[in-house]
């Protein structure tokens, strides 16, 4: 079980969180014309990298904040966690 540092609450076990996928995906702005390809990339297409990956988790059974977690998908090492609106270093 992973040990994730919630930037709001501190170190908590994985079972308090739910996974939310790739954190680098950006939703196209509302009312903006987007091509099929751009929309597909937003909704469906994801890379599955081995190594560093910035991903979303929600501290569901805690503060309910969505956070960003930089994690190695192979070793599970967590390098850094960010608040939802924090600049990614």
């Amino acid at each position: 079980m992973l040990h994730i540092k919630c930037p709001h609450c501190g170190m908590r076990s994985q079972n308090e969180f739910s996974y939310g996928g790739d954190a680098t995906v950006k939703r196209p702005e509302l009312n903006k014309e987007v091509t099929d390809q751009e929309w597909d990339n937003f909704v469906y297409n994801r890379v599955s990298p081995r190594g560093k990956h910035l991903e979303l988790w929600q501290h569901l059974s805690g503060c309910r904040q969505w956070i960003k977690v930089e994690r190695d998908t192979a070793s599970h090492e967590i390098f850094k966690t960010y608040k939802a609106n924090e600049e990614i270093a």
């Binding site: 079980m1 992973l2 040990h3 076990s13 739910s18 939310g20 939703r27 196209p28 509302l30 009312n31 987007v34 099929d36 929309w39 937003f42 909704v43 469906y44 979303l56 929600q58 569901l60 309910r64 904040q65 969505w66 070793s75 599970h76 967590i78 939802a84 609106n85």
Partner: protein, 998 residues
């Protein structure tokens, strides 16, 4: 029966407390402090089971967790548990156990015929032998294997024992209380670190209990006892015996199983049977010691052949002689320790040493005691079937390839020592890159992946002096990093005997013309010949050899077999062991009972049960409940002998003719507040929200980004910046997360807060033509007339002193209202409704009637919004705003979503107006078409229409728009039904929606 193999005095057992127990129906006696194994051996019982494949007689091989085959079925206090190691099970008064793996009995086992049909069960036998003829599988092979190859029987009864889970955090977790565990725990504890010291056995001290050493002028055992009692007094230390750390997981999370009650005749009141500890440790010290390695020789599985360290432990800890004519077969000095113990207790052992001229202190001691030592000698084969009767021995050449003339020596046990294998399972589970240590012919931990350090014998260090020194230092160093304290601990003086080098010899060659089975893996019955077959058949990777032969698998995880298996593969392949590599060690290290893993989450506790504040009233009024997510909801209120159908028809009909009341507390409720709340709703819902006035409700549909309908419900504008959103019962949690996602990550600029208020409000739906009259009685001061409270209107009211929210919304399609009060007033509200509704013939209705009402109205619910449908499919396209963007809108342009013949909701009526249509059935054009018959759609929900008094269903049907009036067939292969049906509009009742607006 006398304990004829028990010595007069000595051992750590309590001879004042005699214990009776039964094994295979025979009553024996042992002492308090015995294991089942030591007590049986004290009674001269060696035959405990049959081997897994060949059903050969098997006895005891080890004295603890390393035991590969003395597995028994245990009976305790009316319960039974399989897969118990007799070497670990402590004796208690009234214990009963029986052999497994033998049928009909341990003494006469029909499966032992496998032993003589050699062709029957070689390596890969499952893959080859039982493949053909196919028809034999069910009738002959499978029943035979099932009957013959069990490792015990699981109880089919409900387990009345309780199991607990515990979460713990500590600075240092130390696995194993041998010398390295004690020393590191002690110095870390002195530095103020929070320490957990875990020992799998009942007694602390590990090897110190059986070794002949002196620490700080005390015996090893006395020193260990002193350290343990000091540690137990320290508030920062938790010391746990009978506790096995069996798994090392990510981020330094370890799991430990504590046997709280297994050593007692019955579990004490309020105590669990076992407790599973999830421990998050900053640092982990692995002091799990080492396990003695067997030497491979002919018939080395005969009862009476055992590890020399086990024989020593039975003698020193339990006062039990495993034999009276022992033969010790060793390739190192450890065997001499066992021989000396025998000699001290008046038994004359013979030592066979594979080395030609070993010299050391301990060998000198053995010689001085007059022990018969034969150098360059090996055991070629054990003789005897159910018990060792003698041993064929021979000299062996210096290159270990040639045997001399075979002699036969009388003996009743053979104690084997092939040197020591560090127990690296935990380190390996952690991700440690283990390395091969040529000095000891074994793998030891290498580069750590997590914060784990391995100490002492587990790290391949076999001298006590070095073990203690490094362990004291490591405990101090690691704790200092955490507590920043640096307290000196003096390292005691150690007196121990120096060992000479062991012989890198592990397998006795077969003498000419003999084909003895030489076992590598005792638990899985893998012999040298099996591995040879696997390699001959082309298996190369050690992982493949493992699976083909079953070497090192199952509960044993290669504790005694791993290295000898690797030696063999490397020898045949002409490679060195490190390049063969070892297979993965998997948790659990030793079998853990399923009960402990499940913990308290069984039965009613497997998930939370949520009840509405009106639940007790429902119970008092014969409600039959149904699980709705984690909620319990009344399905119907049973009157007399009514069936579900009868009751739900009555309840639904009463709503259509008079008035009914339904507990809708379970609906998800979310408060949406803030100056940008309207804008937010406008983005979340598909329809327009910016112009909804205060005091009005609106129905809304929300999509996922992929265009699929996520949920629906009504949202009411309570005040300027305050909206009350409702969701379906099932989707409440997902919708909240969904809203939080957009507010926190996508549109943080919106000034909006959302919070769940599901538990804050109790809700009652009052539905039916007489609902307005009832409502007026409930709220005499409030204008609830058609004009005062129009459809989709909202007012606050005073319910006899209780503040209430009144919504004019309808799920049933009738004139209807929903009244919410604070949860604590839920029952008050409900009873008032029932009391004042009496004159209108009110009846409560459950979810079954609720479904009937919504189905015949064509209102969609969870069975249509099933994660596969878009708004059009549910006839909700009228709610899609063309003027604004919203979540998921862009996806609705997908080609499949705009296809001309897109699926759409329809109504379905059986042509005979009688036959009920099973939900989930498929719709087809031609019931007799060849398979696969093309599916046109499926039945999503079915009811008995109370309005039309015939069955009615909703379906999602391809090209549903153009199918009204078509005749199709409903097919349910599960229920073996074919029903001719007509497709009708999904609005079967009041298609214009006049009633809700009346």
């Amino acid at each position: 029966m006398a304990q004829s193999y028990r010595i007069e005095t000595g051992g750590l057992i309590n001879r004042n407390k005699k214990i009776s127990f039964k094994f295979n129906g025979v009553t024996y006696f042992g002492y308090d402090g015995d294991t089942l194994a030591s007590a049986l051996l004290a009674n001269g019982v060696h035959l405990v089971g049959r081997s897994f494949k060949y059903h050969r007689p098997r006895g005891f091989f080890g004295a603890g967790v390393d035991e590969p085959y003395a597995v028994v079925q245990l009976y305790r206090n009316g319960e039974t548990e399989p897969n118990i190691k007799a070497t670990e099970q402590e004796l208690f008064e009234g214990l009963e156990a029986s052999s497994v793996n033998c049928w009909p009995s341990v003494n006469f086992d029909i499966g032992a015929i496998n032993n003589f049909l050699k062709i029957f069960l070689p390596a890969g036998f499952y893959y080859k032998t039982f493949m053909w003829p196919k028809s034999f599988w069910y009738k002959i092979y499978e029943p035979f294997i099932r009957k013959a190859a069990g490792l015990g029987v699981a109880s089919t009864k409900h387990d009345k024992e309780r199991y607990e889970h515990k979460y713990e955090y500590c600075d240092l977790l130390i696995a194993g209380s041998g010398p390295s565990g004690l020393a590191s725990a002690y110095s870390a504890a002195k530095n103020g670190a929070k320490v957990i010291l875990a020992e799998d056995k009942p007694r602390y001290g590990g090897s110190l209990l059986t070794s002949d050493v002196n620490i700080g002028n005390q015996s090893g055992k006395d020193w260990a006892d002193g350290i343990i009692s000091e540690l137990k007094e320290m508030p920062n230390v938790t010391v746990k015996n009978r506790s096995q750390v069996f798994g090392y997981y990510d981020h330094n999370m370890l799991v430990m199983s504590e046997k709280v009650s297994d050593h007692l005749p019955e579990t004490k009141k309020y105590h669990p049977n076992k407790r599973l500890w999830y421990i998050r440790a900053k640092e982990v010290l692995i002091s799990s010691g080492s396990i003695e390695r067997p030497i491979v020789f002919g018939n080395n599985d005969t009862p009476g052949v055992m590890l020399s360290s086990a024989a020593k432990e039975y003698l020193k800890v339990y006062g039990v002689l495993v034999g009276k004519k022992p033969l010790v077969f060793t390739n190192n000095d450890s065997g001499y320790e066992t021989a000396i113990e025998f000699k001290k207790h008046g038994v004359d052992p013979i030592v066979l040493d594979s080395r030609s001229n070993p010299q050391s202190e301990i060998i000198d001691e053995a010689k001085n005691l007059g022990i018969n030592i034969k150098n360059s000698y090996v055991v070629v084969a054990a003789q005897g079937y159910k018990k060792v009767k003698s041993a064929d021995v021979a000299t062996i050449s210096e290159d270990k390839k040639t045997l001399g003339k075979i002699e036969n020596i009388n003996c009743d046990c053979i104690c084997v020592s092939g040197f020591w294998t560090p127990t690296i399972h935990l380190a390996s589970q952690s991700g440690n890159k283990t390395k091969f240590n040529e000095e000891i012919d074994a793998f030891v931990p290498g580069v750590s992946k997590q914060n784990e350090t391995t100490l002492g014998a587990a790290n391949g260090v076999f001298t006590l002096e070095e073990t203690l020194k490094t362990s004291f230092e490591k405990g101090k160093e690691l704790s200092k990093k955490i507590t920043e304290k640096d307290n000196e601990v003096s390292i005691p003086n150690v007196v121990e005997k120096k060992y000479s080098k062991h012989d890198k010899f592990w397998c006795v060659p077969l003498p000419k013309g003999k084909s003895y089975k030489r076992f590598l893996d005792f638990q899985n019955d893998v012999a040298v010949s099996d591995v040879e077959i696997a390699l001959r058949e082309g298996y190369r990777s050690i992982e493949h050899v493992k699976r083909y032969t079953t070497l090192g698998m199952a509960t044993d995880q290669g504790k005694t077999s791993n290295l000898n298996g690797l030696q063999l593969v490397s020898e045949i392949e002409n490679k060195v062991v490190p390049s063969v590599g070892h297979t993965t060690f998997r948790p659990p290290y030793t079998p853990i009972s399923i009960g402990a893993i499940v913990g308290r989450e069984v039965g009613k506790h497997s998930k939370p049960t949520r009840k509405s504040p009106i639940h007790n009233w429902h119970e008092e009024h014969n409600a039959v409940f149904v699980d709705a997510g984690v909620w319990l909801r009344p399905r119907y209120y049973k009157r007399g002998n009514e069936t579900l159908i009868e009751a739900s028809k009555r309840e639904a009909k009463n709503v259509r003719t008079n008035v009914g009341v339904c507990d809708v507390t379970t609906l998800g409720k979310i408060d949406v507040k803030g100056p940008d709340a309207a804008e937010f709703l406008n983005r979340v819902y598909t329809n327009a929200w910016l112009k909804l006035p205060v005091g009005k409700a609106r129905y809304g549909v929300m999509l996922r980004e992929d265009g699929i309908v996520m949920d629906d419900g009504t949202t009411t504008r309570i005040s300027e910046n305050h909206y009350h959103m409702t969701t379906t019962t099932a989707q409440a949690a997902n919708v909240l997360s969904h809203l939080e996602y957009y507010l926190q990550l996508v549109w943080p600029e919106l000034n909006v807060n959302v919070v769940s208020t599901t538990e804050q409000w109790a809700g009652a739906a009052i539905a039916g033509p007489k609902s307005r009259e009832l409502l007026q009685k409930l709220f005499p001061k409030t204008d609830v007339s058609k004009e005062g409270l129009p459809f989709m209107g909202y007012v606050e009211g005073d319910l006899f002193g209780v503040k209430a929210r009144i919504f004019r919304i309808s799920f049933s399609g009738e004139l209807a209202y929903e009244v919410n009060v604070e949860s604590d007033n839920g029952r008050f509200m409900w009873e008032k409704i029932i009391e004042l509704g009496e004159e209108f013939k009110i009846q409560p209705y459950g979810t079954e009637a609720l479904s009937t009402l919504r189905i015949e109205m064509g209102h969609v619910a969870g069975s249509e919004l099933d994660g596969r449908t878009i708004p059009y499919d549910n006839a909700l396209e009228g709610l899609l705003s063309k003027k604004k963007d919203f979540i998921g809108k862009r996806s609705l342009q997908r080609a499949a979503f705009v296809a001309e013949d897109r699926q759409r909701i329809v109504g379905v009526v059986p042509l005979d107006k009688k036959t009920s249509i099973p939900e989930g059935s498929h719709l087809v054009k031609d019931a007799n078409a060849p398979l696969p018959n093309k599916k046109l759609g499926h039945i999503s929900a079915s009811c008995w229409s109370v309005e039309h008094d015939n069955p009615f269903s909703l379906a999602i049907l391809k090209d549903g728009k153009n199918m009204i009036g078509e005749k199709l067939f409903v097919m349910s292969p599960l229920k073996n039904k074919v029903i001719p049906v007509e497709i009708v509009s999904s609005h079967y009742v009041d298609p214009k929606g006049e009633r809700v607006r009346s």
